[in-house]
């Protein structure tokens, strides 16, 4: 069968048969240790500078950032933004922090809690962490947060707590493992700015298939 052939061929090339217990142990210890490789200095700043770096990098990647002092300000901020963009609806994830908010500030904007569909103009989700190194958001699928909310709508609004901003990607992975007891969610998204493509004559255009606009509601807590 293919598997045996392929593995057999690899082993033949490596000049050995099945790996012995020492070889297996070495690989297993690497898998268990989960050591970091080189982490750039840029990702090792003190927290305050880290948050600033996140903002700088995210803006460079064409994300929009709205800074808020508390999460309770989210509905008002979202409302203002959506009204300015003439968007009448907002699809929300069902994370406890979003559900707990008072959304009356939305006014006439329709709020729905569901999976996203083609035609949705705007969504709002929570996030797991921010990665300062490149202004990257980490989100993941869950019963609270369907992945389609991150991709189908034209506008994706993301609530990010400054306290969850880490320096390097590695810290986010370590936190994710801890948060989920080492069990991965179905999808983990690392998102850096809105969707784009340069496939047409090397000219960069926003909004290929994912959201055209990424709005990060940064809670400075």
């Amino acid at each position: 069968m293919s598997k045996a052939e392929i593995l057999g061929n690899i082993r033949r090339g490596l000049g050995r048969g099945e790996p012995n217990s020492k070889q297996r142990a070495a690989a297993e210890s690497r898998l268990a240790a989960k050591d970091n490789n080189l982490i750039p200095k840029r990702a090792q700043l003190p927290q305050a500078e880290q948050v600033q770096l996140f903002k700088d990098m995210a803006i460079e990647a064409a994300a929009e950032i709205i800074e808020l002092n508390s999460i309770s300000e989210v509905p008002m901020a979202a409302s203002e933004w959506l009204h300015k963009a003439s968007i009448q609806e907002l699809i929300t994830a069902s994370s406890p922090e979003l559900k707990a908010l008072d959304w009356s500030a939305l006014g006439d904007i329709q709020l729905s809690e569901r999976v996203s569909q083609v035609g949705d103009m705007a969504s709002i989700t929570s996030s797991f962490a921010g990665i300062a190194e490149t202004g990257t958001l980490m989100l993941h699928s869950s019963s609270d947060s369907p992945t389609t909310l991150n991709f189908l709508p034209d506008v994706h609004m993301v609530v990010l707590h400054a306290s969850t901003i880490v320096g390097p990607y590695e810290d986010a992975w370590k936190q994710l493992r801890t948060a989920h007891n080492g069990v991965m969610p179905r999808t983990v998204n690392m998102i850096t700015g809105p969707s784009r493509s340069a496939d047409i004559e090397q000219k960069l255009q926003m909004g290929a298939h994912g959201p055209r606009t990424l709005v990060i509601l940064l809670i400075n807590d």
């Binding site: 898998l31 989960k34 999808t187 983990v188 493509s197 340069a198 004559e201 298939h209």
Partner: protein
């Protein structure tokens, strides 16, 4: 995909005269290398990262079987399936089986060079399944019945006019030459396809053994819609893509975008691990990973093993003066440029692809930008040796070399030949100092003059005491 590598010289000749292509290649040369240089400048640790990445890849290859088994067991533990495909045919058949099992009629595809390698689209179409490319570049190519000419920017050989025409023909919309309008059209057209697809097929930039995850890296988000919306997600990938841990994956992520497009980080880096979890409101119900070999395991333990470090960034071809002159289609198969010149002979045979590793000046630029320090010129030379040993080089080359070698090993005779040639060519050049047409050297004098020798060889003059 039809193999046109034996016609490399003719392909190149046509490519050099293709005004549209040359304009497109000019864009490439102005873009990617400059951007990569800027990204490297911003990351002081870049060279150290390259060293670590090379070493880690070497470690992985030395333990490839172990990490692949670990990866498989984790995928299965998370509710997914792993299929091992020794050949292209195996891969296609396996994917067709999965599609037929779920009664698939349309399949959306994220960009996957491995799927090009095994000719998946053609196979599915022959069996009544419609594959829809969703990466903008691949989508444009599909409409034009064309093939990628670059491993990350597949439609790089096209100009705005080509895209404009293709969309006008297929979208039933007024013709536009505004890239924003064109992209909006593609966005709308493909949204329907994303939602309607029964199966989504993506590639994988890496396969993480620790978690049984695959990761795709896109700027568009098409891979994400492909891996989330349909009921079944199939990942087609190759055996050398496995990495041990998420931290190991991260090392390569730091190098990939910077080496490829010069971005700090690609917009969407997405990990898929198994099917949807209980309680998830979206996501596929089935998750399959097809591990393709297709000649890779044969490279392990050989001089070509270093090539398996490749992370498919495209830095080599972006910086290659030959690729920059003739474009990707000249190489005649799936993988172009320096990495293509090393892989293609392995996958389709040196007898079909011999011209590719020879079409290089060994300038070394590719190796100098490769994030995992693959010695590409050395590997191309390996193929030239292979070709020579198999007596596959053109007879003119063999005889020419044999003749030259005979003299080069005999200093006295060599002196005589040098002496005569120097004298003769000097005479031919006369007072002009250069020769316009040199018999037997049309390859040279068709395009440039041959500077005249001074007339007397150095060795003769030195012997005569001249200083």
């Amino acid at each position: 995909m039809q193999i046109k590598s034996p016609e490399f010289k003719e392909n190149a000749r046509i490519a050099l005269k293709d005004v549209g292509l040359q304009k497109a290649l000019g864009n490439l040369k102005a873009g990617f290398p400059t951007k990569r240089a800027a990204a490297v400048e911003r990351m002081p640790e870049f060279e150290d990262l390259r060293d670590q990445a090379r070493d880690l890849k070497n470690h992985i290859l030395e333990n490839l079987d172990i990490y692949l088994e670990q990866f498989e067991s984790k995928v299965v533990e998370n509710g997914g399936h792993v299929h091992w495909a020794r050949t292209s045919e195996d891969a296609c058949k396996t994917i067709l089986d999965i599609c037929q099992q779920v009664g698939a009629k349309t399949v959306t595809k994220g960009k996957s060079m491995v799927s090009e390698e095994v000719n998946l689209n053609e196979y599915l179409e022959k069996n009544g399944i419609e594959p829809v490319e969703t990466d903008l570049g691949e989508y444009i190519l599909q409409l034009r019945e064309d093939h990628p000419s670059h491993i990350i920017a597949p439609a790089i050989h096209l100009n705005l006019e080509d895209v404009s025409e293709a969309f006008h023909k297929h979208h039933n919309r007024p013709k536009s030459d505004d890239p924003a309008v064109l992209m909006q059209e593609a966005r709308e057209m493909l949204r329907k396809k994303f939602v309607a697809a029964d199966v989504g097929i993506t590639g994988a930039n890496f396969c993480v053994a620790e978690t049984g995850s695959t990761i795709i890296v896109t700027n568009e988000g098409n891979g994400d819609l492909t891996q989330t919306l349909p009921k079944t997600h199939i990942v087609i990938t190759s055996i050398e893509k496995v990495v041990p841990t998420l931290e190991d994956m991260t090392l390569f992520q730091r190098l990939l975008a910077r080496s490829a497009t010069g971005q700090e980080f690609t917009v969407y880096n997405t990990l898929s691990t198994g099917p949807r979890r209980e309680g998830d409101q979206d996501g596929p119900e089935n998750f399959h990973v097809v591990l393709v070999d297709n000649g890779r395991s044969d490279m392990v333990g050989t001089e070509l093993q270093d090539m398996l470090r490749c992370i498919r960034c495209s830095a080599c071809m972006n910086h290659c003066p030959v690729y920059g002159a003739v474009g990707g289609h000249s190489y005649g198969w799936v993988y172009p440029g320096p990495m293509g010149s090393v892989l293609t002979p392995q996958m389709i045979g040196i007898e079909n692809a011999g011209l590719l590793p020879n079409a290089s000046t060994a300038c070394g630029k590719c190796e100098s930008v490769c994030p995992v320090r693959i010695p590409l010129p050395k590997l191309m030379r390996h193929w030239r040796e292979n070709e020579f040993e198999k007596h596959l080089s053109p007879k003119s080359v063999r005889y020419g070399l044999a003749g030259w070698g005979f003299f080069a090993k005999r200093p006295a005779l060599y002196r005589w030949v040098s002496r005569s040639s120097a004298w003769f060519m000097k005479k031919m050049a006369g007072k002009k100092g250069r020769i316009n047409k040199l018999p037997l050297a049309g390859g040279w004098t068709d395009w440039r003059d041959m500077p005249a020798p001074e007339g007397q060889t150095f060795m003769d003059q030195w012997k005569q005491g001249k200083r």
